[in-house]
C-alpha cells in the first residue's frame, strides 16, 4: 500500500510504503506520526520532511554531517534503546532548518536531531557539548555565503 497526499506546498506527492517513516512519538511539539522525505532540489543538501497526516506540515532538514564535519551525537542509553541502534551515527540523521531570507542567517537545530533507523524516526536530545539549538548553517566567506566545509 502506498500513500498519496495533496501537499499545500508541493501539490500531489506519492510515497511508496518503504519510503514512509513512522514517528511513534511525532516531532517535539508537532503532530503527525508518519512522514516522508522529499528531495526537491538534488545537490542542494536540503530535504523536506513532509508529514503524511497533515498536508500543510513540512520541515526543511539537512544531514548535519554534510555541513558540520565535526558533528557528533551523544544520546542517553535509554534513547539508544528507543531507537534500537547501537551506534546512532550509523543511522540516517537530520536536523531541522530554520529558513531565513539571508543564507548566512539560516540556522539548524543540532540540539534535537532526528534519528531514522529501520523506518522509524525519533527526535532526540543531543548532549554533545557543541550541539547548538541555532547553529548557523553557512559561514561567511567574503561576500557570499559558503558551506562551512564541503562534505568529503
Amino acid at each position: 500500500m502506498s500513500m498519496t497526499i495533496e501537499s499545500s506546498r508541493f501539490g500531489t506527492l506519492h510515497f511508496e510504503d518503504e519510503a514512509v517513516i513512522e514517528f511513534p512519538l511525532g516531532l517535539i511539539g508537532l503532530g503527525g506520526t508518519h512522514y516522508g522525505l522529499i528531495d526537491r532540489n538534488p545537490n542542494s543538501g536540503f530535504l523536506w520532511l513532509h508529514c503524511l497526516d497533515d498536508p500543510t506540515l513540512a520541515l526543511p532538514v539537512v544531514d548535519p554531517r554534510l555541513f558540520f564535519p565535526s558533528f557528533s551525537l551523544q544520546l542517553g542509553a535509554e534513547d539508544c534503546e528507543l531507537v534500537g541502534v547501537e551506534d546512532p551515527m550509523s543511522a540516517a540523521l537530520f536536523v531541522t532548518v530554520r529558513a531565513r531570507p539571508r543564507p548566512e542567517e539560516i540556522t539548524v537545530n543540532l540540539r534535537a536531531p532526528i534519528v531514522v533507523w529501520e523506518g522509524r524516526g525519533h527526535q532526540l536530545l543531543n548532549s554533545a557539548p557543541n550541539a547548538e539549538l541555532q547553529a548557523p548553517l553557512f559561514a561567511m566567506v567574503g561576500e557570499g555565503a559558503q558551506p562551512v566545509v564541503d562534505a568529503a
Partner: protein, 87 residues
C-alpha cells in the same frame, strides 16, 4: 493544577507507570528522579519549549525559502533511498 507536598524520598505516581521521586532538596534546588516506560519522552521544560519553537519555525518555511545548489555533490546522497525526487 494539583499541588502536593512531598519530602525527600517520597514519590508521586502518575497513571499506572510514571513514578516521580523527590531525590534531594538543597536550597532552591530540587532533584527529581523520574521512572517512566520507554518511549515516554521526558524533557526539562525550557528545552522542550525551545525545540518546539525551532520545529514550528522550521515548519513555517515556504517551498521556495531555501537557497539552491549550495553544497557539494555528496549532498545528493543525503536523501537516502526513500526520498522522492522531482521527475
Amino acid at each position: 493544577m494539583l499541588i502536593l507536598t512531598r519530602r525527600p524520598g517520597e514519590r508521586v505516581v502518575i497513571g499506572d507507570d510514571v513514578l516521580v521521586t523527590v531525590m534531594e532538596i538543597s536550597g532552591q534546588t530540587v532533584r527529581l528522579g523520574i521512572a517512566a516506560p520507554g518511549g515516554v519522552p521526558i524533557f526539562r521544560e525550557e528545552i522542550w519549549l525551545a525545540v518546539k519553537e525551532e520545529n514550528r519555525a522550521a515548519a513555517q518555511a515556504d517551498a521556495g525559502a531555501l537557497p539552491e545548489g549550495t553544497t557539494s555533490p555528496a549532498a545528493s546522497d543525503a536523501a537516502g533511498e526513500g526520498a522522492q525526487r522531482p521527475s
